[in-house]
Symmetry: D2
Subunit: 359 residues, 4 copies
C-alpha cells in the first residue's frame, strides 16, 4: 500500500477490505511522506517492509521472491500517475484510487503500461461490487427492464457541506472539477456498470455551492447514452445533511429499478402498473452474480466494507489467473473512461454547458 | 364548472375539494361537449343549471343574482383561454387548470382581463397547498435553511409509461412539450413557492421516452435562480413504475429539506451534521401556515383532496374579500410564469439545450 | 349530530367525512351541553335545527317529513347508550362512536333496539374503510395468504404521552380500561375485519405508563383466534413520540401483509422467499373492494378523511336500502363485540392476565 | 474454532468477524465430526492444527506456547456445555454460541468454571455490538429518554417459515422452545443491553406456527422489568416473508427510540411532540461508545459482519487484559440469564402462560 497513513479513511477501508476474506496479507508499504510516522504506522499494522520511495519499493518488491502481488495506491490524485507507473512497469499489479490520473493522456498511458507488463490495473469504484448492484446489472443484461429509456444517477454527498481544509479542495492536487472527479465518477461508473451502456456526449454545469471554495463542488450533467437514451448525473459534496447520497434509478420500457447506498442490501423493482418489489440480499431467487458476493445471507446486512472486500476478492481471482466474469471489477479502461468524463465535463462547462462528445 | 364530465379525473378532484369543507355549492356547469351527456351528469351531481356554451353560461350567470362566484375551467389546454376569458370578462372569478394557456401572450391577456374586471384568476398548482409544503415555505422564509444553494425538483410520474391515447398526447391540444406543461409546471411552481425565488434562465433537453409518441414526455431542465443558485427540474410522465413522483429537495447553507408527494404529511429536515428530523403534520410546533390547513391533527394523514380543498378554502377567503396571506394560492401571474417557463424550455431545446433567459 | 361542539376533533372528522362526497346535509344537531354555544356553533355550520335535549330531537325529527335519516353520536362514552337508544327507538339510524357503550348488556340492548325498529346502527371503526385495508381483507378472503398463522396488531398512539386533563382520562366517563376501549377496540376490529376471524379468548395486562393517571393507558393482549392461531394486540395512548401508531401484520402460510396508518395508501405483501411487494392505492390490478373506495387514483394519496367518507358513503348506500356487500362497514354487532372485548380484557387483568373466554 | 464446518453459516460469520480487523489468526480447530472433511476444510482455510476431539484440542493447545488464546464454540446447542467446559478448564477463553447450554445449572457451572480458571467466557449476542445499539444504550444511560416506561422487542425472522429439516428443529438438540432459545434470547439480551434493566418475571405463550414442527417456533412473552415497567418480547422463526426481523422500541417519559436490524446504521429518536430524528452512524455528535466501533464513517453502511467484528475486537481488548468498559460484550453471566429466561418461558407456558419469576 502506498498512502493511507494515519487519519486517511480510504486507507482504512482498503485494509479492512483486504482482511475481511483472509485472502491478502499486507506485507509492504509507504504510509505517508514522513518516514518516522510511516514506519511507526507500519509497525502498528504488523507490516514488515516499509519504504520511503515508491520507485525503490517497486524495484525491491519486484526482485523479491515473496514480493507483493499487488499494490494499492491511495495517495492524493496528482501523484497517482507516477506511483502507479512505477509499479506497473515493474510488473506489479496496481489498485489505483479514482480518478485514475488528472488527465486522460496519462490515464491512457497507465492502461498501456499495464497491458505491456501483463499487470492488472484495477480502479476501486467499489459501489459496483455490492451484491444488489450486481443483481441490478444482471437484470438489465437479462432484459428484465426492457429497453433502457432513461437513467437518473446521483452522488450527492454532504461530507463537504461546510468549508473544509483538505487536499481534495486544492485544485492543483484534486483537480478543479472536484465534484465530478471525486464523486461524479462513481455515479458515472455505476450507471455504466448497471446499464452496460456507454455515454456518447455530456453537457455539464459546474458550480461552487460553498462560497469561497476554489474548486467546483457541484455538477449537474446530462448524458446521451449509446442507445440514444438521455440520462442525468448529479454530483456534489455539498448536499447539506446528506449521508453518502449515492443513488441510481434506471427506467426501462418494462420496469424500472432503484438502488440507494443508504440501504445497499435492497433493490427496488417497479413495474408499469405501479407496484414496487423490494429484493433483499440473500434471497434464494437472486442471480449467481449477487449470490457469489453474499457471505451470510438473508437478513444479515452487508455494507461498504463487504462491497470493498468483494472488489478485492474478485481481484484475487484475477491475480490467480482465473478467467474473467462478465460482471467483475472496474479496470484501468474504466478509470480512463472516468478521466475522459471529467475532462469532457470541464470542456462543456467552459463552453456554457454545450454538448461535448465523449471519445 | 366547465369540463370535468364523466370519466374526467380532474373534475372529480375539483368537486370533492369544493365539497370537503362545505364552503361551495356546485350550482351550474357544462360537463362535456355532448349536451345530453352533460345534462345527465349534471343531474347526477345535483347541479341545477346546465349550459351548452361557455359564453352563454358566463352571460347568464353574470346576470343572475344568485349567479356563481367562481367557475372551474377543467377542459383540455387549448380551450382554456377562450373559456376563462369569457367568464373573467363577465366579472366571474376563474379557477383555470394549468398550463393556463398554450402561449404566454394569451396567458398575460387573461391576467390583465382578470385585473380589469376585478375578478380572481387562480391556478390549481395544488401541491403548494399541502400543509407540509406550507411549512417548508415558511421555514425557508424564516431563514431556517440559510441561503439556498441548490434545488432539485422532480415530477417524474409513471402515468403514461406505456403508449396511451389521450388528448394530452396530442400536440395540438396539450402542447408539444407535454412533460413540461403537464407536470413540469407543477414542479417548477413548487420550487418557486417553497424557495420564494424566481428563475432567471433555463436550459432544457426534451425527449420522447415512449417510442412513437408525438409529444415530448420527458424533460431535464437546469435553472439559474434569482439568487444565483443552480437548480434542476426533471419532468416526465414516462417514469416506469412511479406513482406520482413529485418530490423536491432544497439545500441551504444551514439545512436542507425534502418533501415527497408519496408521503405528503411529513417533511424531512436534514442538518449539516447528517441527522434527519421528520416533521409530521399536526405537530404543535409547526407554523401557523401549516396549522391553518390541518383539519384533524397529528396521526391523521391528509392527502391530495385535502390539499385541493385547502386551495379552495383559501380561494373562498379571497372571494369573501379577506386580505391575502403571504403563503396563499397561485394566481394568474403564477400561471403566466408557468407558461413562460414552458416556452423558454421549448426555445432552449430547439437551440440544443442552450441557456434561455426567462422574462 | 349529537356532540362534536367547538374544539371536539371527532366532530370535525365526521362533518368533513359527510361533506366530502356530497351525500349528506347536516340538518340538525346538539353541539354540546351549553345551549347558547350549541346554537352559535350550529349557525356557523349552517345547521338550521338546533335542539337542547336528545329525546326532544329524536321525537321531533322522527315526526318531520324532512327529518334526519341518521344521527351521529359523538359524545363522551358514558352517554352513548341513552342517546343512541332514543334515536333508534324513534326509528332513526345511528352512527355511534366506539366503544358503543360502557358495558356489553347495554350494547346488546342497542343492537336489539336497532333491529326491532328497523334502524341501522353503525360504529365508525373507520380504519376498516381505507382502500388498502379493504384490499387486505379481500386478499385474505381470496386465500392469497393461505391459512392465517399469526397476527400482530397495535394501536400505539402517542397522543397522551404526557399528563393530560380530558374526559377520556376520567374512569367514570371513558371507562377504566381507556387504552383498550379507546384505541384497542380499533386494532381489534381491524384484526377481525382483515382476517375474517373472531377471537375466542383473551389474556390482558393493563398498566399505567403515565404516573398518576387514573385509567389504564397501556394494554398488552394475547388472543386465540377462531382458527386456533395466536395473535397479539398492543394498545396504548402513551407511546412517546408516536403519531397514530395503528399497524397490523397478518402472517399466513403463503404470504404476510402489513398495513400502517402512517402510510395508508400502501399495502405490503411479503412472500416466503423474503421479497416484499408494495401495492399502491389506485393500481389497476387491485380488487373491486379497493377500487370502489378510491376517488382520484394512483399517485394521489387519500387519507383519514377519505376513509371516514368511505364509511359514510357505504352507510348512505345502506340507508338507500342497497343490499350489503361482504366488505362493508362495522355495525352494532361489531360494536358489541368490541365492548365484550373490553370487558374480557378487564376480567383477565383482574385475574393476573389469565385467559378469559370471549362470548 | 469448534464446529463451523462446510455449510455452517454461523462459522462463516465468526471467521469473517475475526479477520475483518486483523486481530485474530485462526490457528486450530475441529470443523465437523467427520475427520477427513474437517481436515480438508481446515486446509482450505489455512488452518494448521486440526483436531478430532475437543478434549484433546483443549489439552494440547493449553500446553503449547503458541496455543490459542480463545476458541469459538459454534456447534449445535446440546454440545456447548461439554466443549466449552473442556476449554475453560484448560484455561482457554471461550466464545460460546447461544443459548449457552440447554439448562441453567450447566450454564451456571460454565460461568463458575470460567471464573475459577481465569478465562473469559463470551456469548455472541452480537446485535449489541452494532454502533447504533451502543449509541442507544448510551442515550438511555445518560437519561435522554427519561424513565423507561415500556419496551417492545421482537425477533420475528422468516427463515423457517416453511417446513425445514435441521438440527434446530430437533427438540433434543436445539431444545423444545426453539423460538425462545434461538431468537428470543437475542431480543431479550438486546432489551437488557439497551435499557440496562433486568426482567423480574415472564409470561409466555409458546406455539407452533408451521404444522407438524416438533418444536415451538413462536413465542409471545410479557416481561416485568426491574423498574416496574412492562415489556413485550415476540420471538419467531416463522414470520412469513420477514428478513431477520430483529427490532426494538424503547419508550421513556421524555423520548422513545427504535432500532431495526434491517437498517442497522440508523437509530430513530422520537420526541413527545411527534417529531422523529434519525441518527446515522458516523455522525460527529454521537457518543464515544458508537464512534469507537465505527470504521469508515458517515455514509458508509456497516452491517452484520462489522458488528460481529466489534464483538471480537472488544474481546481482543479483554484478552489483552484491558479494563472493561461499561458498554462492552455479553459474557457468561448474560448467557446464563438467557438460559434462565428460556427455562422460565417454558415454565410459564406449561402453566397456561402464568407469570413466572426470573432468578
Amino acid at each position: 500500500m502506498v498512502g493511507g497513513g494515519p487519519g486517511a479513511m480510504i486507507g482504512v477501508a482498503h485494509r479492512h477490505a483486504m482482511w475481511l476474506d483472509n485472502q491478502y496479507v499486507l506485507a509492504a508499504g509507504i504510509f505517508g511522506r514522513d518516514p518516522a510516522s510511516s514506519a511507526a504506522f507500519a509497525q502498528s499494522l504488523g507490516v514488515d517492509r516499509v519504504y520511503y520511495d515508491h520507485r525503490d519499493m517497486a524495484k525491491q518488491e519486484a526482485n523479491r521472491e515473496d514480493g507483493v502481488d499487488v499494490v494499492a495506491v491511495v495517495t492524493p490524485n496528482d501523484t497517482h500517475f507516477e506511483i502507479a507507473k512505477a509499479f506497473l512497469e515493474a510488473g506489479i499489479s496496481v489498485v489505483c484510487e479514482k480518478p485514475l490520473t488528472n488527465d486522460s493522456s496519462t490515464a491512457a498511458e497507465l492502461v498501456a503500461i499495464a497491458e505491456t507488463n501483463d499487470a492488472i490495473l484495477a480502479v476501486p469504484h467499489i459501489y459496483s461490487a455490492y451484491a444488489m448492484v450486481r443483481q441490478a446489472a444482471r437484470m438489465v443484461r437479462d432484459g428484465e427492464l426492457g429497453r433502457i429509456r432513461f437513467v437518473a444517477a446521483e452522488h450527492a454527498s454532504g461530507w463537504a457541506s461546510a468549508p473544509i481544509d483538505q487536499w481534495r479542495m486544492d485544485p492543483d492536487i484534486g483537480g478543479v472539477a472536484s465534484a465530478v472527479g471525486d464523486v461524479g465518477t462513481h455515479a458515472f461508473h455505476l450507471l455504466r456498470y448497471i446499464t452496460g451502456l456507454e455515454a456518447t456526449r455530456v453537457s455539464a454545469e459546474l458550480s461552487t455551492l460553498v462560497p469561497g471554495r476554489p474548486v467546483f463542488d457541484n455538477a449537474t450533467m446530462r448524458l446521451t447514452l449509446s442507445n440514444g437514451a438521455p440520462a442525468t448525473v448529479w454530483a456534489t459534496m455539498a448536499a447539506t445533511g446528506h449521508e453518502h447520497g449515492l443513488r441510481i434509478r434506471v427506467f426501462g420500457d418494462d420496469a424500472s429499478l432503484e438502488w440507494r447506498h443508504e440501504d445497499p442490501q435492497h433493490l427496488l423493482i417497479r413495474n408499469p402498473a405501479g407496484g414496487t418489489t423490494i429484493l433483499a440480499q440473500g434471497m434464494a431467487s437472486l442471480s449467481d452474480d449477487a449470490a457469489r458476493v453474499t457471505r451470510v445471507g438473508l437478513g444479515h446486512p452487508e455494507g461498504f466494507l463487504e462491497a470493498f472486500a468483494n472488489f478485492y476478492s474478485d481481484l484475487a481471482d484475477m491475480l490467480r489467473g482465473n478467467p474473467g466474469r462478465e460482471l467483475s471489477i472496474p479496470t484501468g479502461t474504466d478509470g480512463l473512461i472516468g478521466v475522459q468524463f471529467v475532462e469532457a465535463a470541464i470542456a462543456s462547462h467552459t463552453d456554457d454547458a454545450a454538448w461535448v462528445a465523449l471519445p
